[in-house]
């Protein structure tokens, strides 16, 4: 036998090795167990939301809830006005906010002098972290009175106020993600376009933005998710009347606001109807993610 082996003072006794393997297994199981918490959470939430929301759908009927225009709990549970309010406010925020955000991203990634970009970028990141109640407060004290003055109406708590606040709120999300994906493009894209004699602006719009499309879609879908899921800022500026709005200058209540405003005192079928509101909201989120998948899938073909 070799002497190096026999003098090996560090060799572990058999028992210690066994113990070690045992510890390894315990930790492996612990980590796996933790990983299951997320799975379990989703399952519990899904089960609860559907279990609690179904009675309302059963009692009042799916079409009465989704297409019903009257929300008079505990008699009528029509949430069509809230669906419309959520969709209109989100759509409006996207129409205003997304072009501005994408162009700002282009500015930061392509046009801004370095010092300016280095100043603006952290500011934008900061704004992504500001609580929604702060935006709501800003909307309440600035946007709402401004609408009153501009349109000569008694109360500025309107869908329009909601749209403007949401548009401001989605800016940081869409800007940050779009800029990241624009910057991630290989410089050869731009060089190739410029080498063909295209102007800088032309190559931005014809080459860079299309090439960064999937990142931009992701940014937009996160922005949409933020807008449609936003609760407090909306409650603070949109007036919350549960009636079908006739124009952008009328108050309205979104799906999220409906839940937040009534959940603390709702019982029985009323509470169940709020869960159905939550189900409808989740359906919109699922549709949003499905369309993102579809868009990015279509692109890869």
């Amino acid at each position: 036998m070799d002497s190096a082996m026999t003098t090996n003072t560090l060799k572990l006794p058999e028992k210690a090795t066994k113990k070690r393997d045992w510890i390894e297994t315990v930790f492996h199981l612990l980590f796996l167990g933790c990983a299951m918490v997320g799975v379990l959470s989703v399952a519990t939430i899904a089960w609860f939301v559907f279990h609690e929301g179904l009675p309302a759908f059963q009692q009042a009927g799916i079409s009465e809830i989704i297409f019903g225009r009257e929300w008079l709990p505990p008699a009528l549970f029509g949430i069509a006005p809230m669906i419309v309010a959520s969709l209109i406010s989100t759509l409006g925020a996207v129409i205003i906010g997304v072009p501005i955000a994408i162009l700002t991203a282009v500015f930061l990634a392509e046009l801004a002098p370095k010092w300016l970009a280095n100043l603006v970028r952290p500011a934008v990141e900061l704004l992504a972290g500001i609580p929604s109640v702060v935006y709501g407060f800003f909307g309440l004290v600035i946007i709402v009175p401004m609408i009153e003055v501009l349109f000569h109406i008694p109360a500025g708590n309107t869908i329009l106020a909601g749209i403007i606040v949401l548009a401001i709120m989605i800016l940081p999300t869409v800007i940050t993600i779009s800029e990241t994906s624009l910057r991630a493009l290989p410089s050869t894209y731009k060089e190739a376009a410029l080498a063909l004699g295209a102007s800088h602006i032309y190559s931005i719009f014809r080459v860079l933005i299309p090439a960064a499309r999937s990142g931009i879609y992701t940014g937009i879908s996160l922005g949409v998710a933020r807008a449609i899921g936003e609760t407090m800022a909306i409650i603070m500026v949109m007036g919350n009347a549960p009636a079908m709005p006739g124009s952008l200058l009328e108050p309205a209540r979104t799906l999220t606001a409906n839940i937040a405003m009534e959940m603390s005192y709702a019982t029985g079928i009323h509470a169940s109807a709020l869960y159905s509101t939550g189900i409808v909201l989740l359906v919109f989120i699922v549709l949003l993610n499905a369309s993102l998948l579809y868009l990015n899938h279509k692109r890869s073909h």
Binding site: M1, D2, A4, M5, N8, T9, L10, L12, T17
Partner: protein, 249 residues
């Protein structure tokens, strides 16, 4: 006496047949060099000797490797094996901690608690790796502050601290300048007195300078092996001839 005996070893990465029917003896306390063109399986063979290939997905290994007569693939305690078979990588991979902690890492991982013992082993290992004089005053500073050659010697010290019997080295000097390379080659001359060394190298001069035995690989096959002199001066196979004369590879 042979420290390691490899018998009819085949290795597949998924469909890729990376080692084909390898049989090779690695003599005790000698330096064995593995040479051959890129992708011929040198690193793969080296990594079967301490079962590092176990970390790769979809590896299939048949045949056996005996270490002091014991089949390492039949034995379940991989950690004990890796303690006895140390490894030095192509690119020095010091850990993000102090020089001292780097060398002490393996000991602490084995549960050695005594500070005295750890200190002694760290000094001893750094001395054996010819690094002690250069770092003795800054044991607590970050290992990334060392030069490339020093980092590689630190990694050697880290391996030595486990008191292994075999040290596997995968192109340990390929990222180093000639002076640092020379230092490590000198060090290996010392190390061969205590350890069995298996080294992968792309430099034929290095193999000539340091290796007692040389094995030449070609597309997953072991073409020829024997005394280093014989491989370089009287190769039998024409492929070996071509490679050592620098015609290809």
């Amino acid at each position: 006496m042979n420290k390691l005996t490899i018998n009819n070893l085949d290795l597949f990465y998924g469909e890729n047949h990376a080692l084909k029917d390898i049989s090779l003896n690695i003599p005790n306390r000698k330096v064995t060099a593995l040479i051959g063109p890129s992708g011929c399986g040198k690193s793969t063979l080296l990594r079967t000797l301490n079962r590092m290939n176990d970390l790769v997905e979809n590896v299939k290994i048949t045949g056996d490797v005996h270490f002091d007569g014991e089949d390492i693939y039949q034995q379940s305690d991989v950690k004990a094996l890796r303690k006895r078979v140390g490894m030095v990588f192509q690119k020095a991979n010091p850990f993000p901690m102090s020089i001292f902690e780097n060398v002490a890492f393996g000991l602490k991982a084995q549960g050695v608690k005594s500070t005295e013992e750890i200190k002694a082993v760290v000094e001893e290992s750094l001395r054996s790796a010819a690094l002690w004089d250069e770092v003795k005053d800054r044991l607590d500073s970050d290992a990334f502050g060392l030069s490339g050659g020093q980092q590689q010697r630190l990694c050697i010290a880290r391996a030595i601290a486990m008191e292994p019997e075999v040290i596997l080295m995968d192109e340990p000097t390929s990222a180093l300048d000639p002076i640092a390379t020379h230092k490590i080659e000198e060090l290996m001359d010392e190390l061969r007195k205590k350890f069995t060394i298996v080294i992968v190298t792309h430099s034929m001069n290095q193999a000539k300078r340091i290796a007692d035995k040389t094995a030449f690989f070609w597309m997953g096959e072991l073409v020829e092996h024997g005394e280093t002199d014989q491989i370089f001066n009287n190769p039998i196979d024409t492929r070996t001839q071509g490679y050592v004369s620098g015609e290809f590879g």
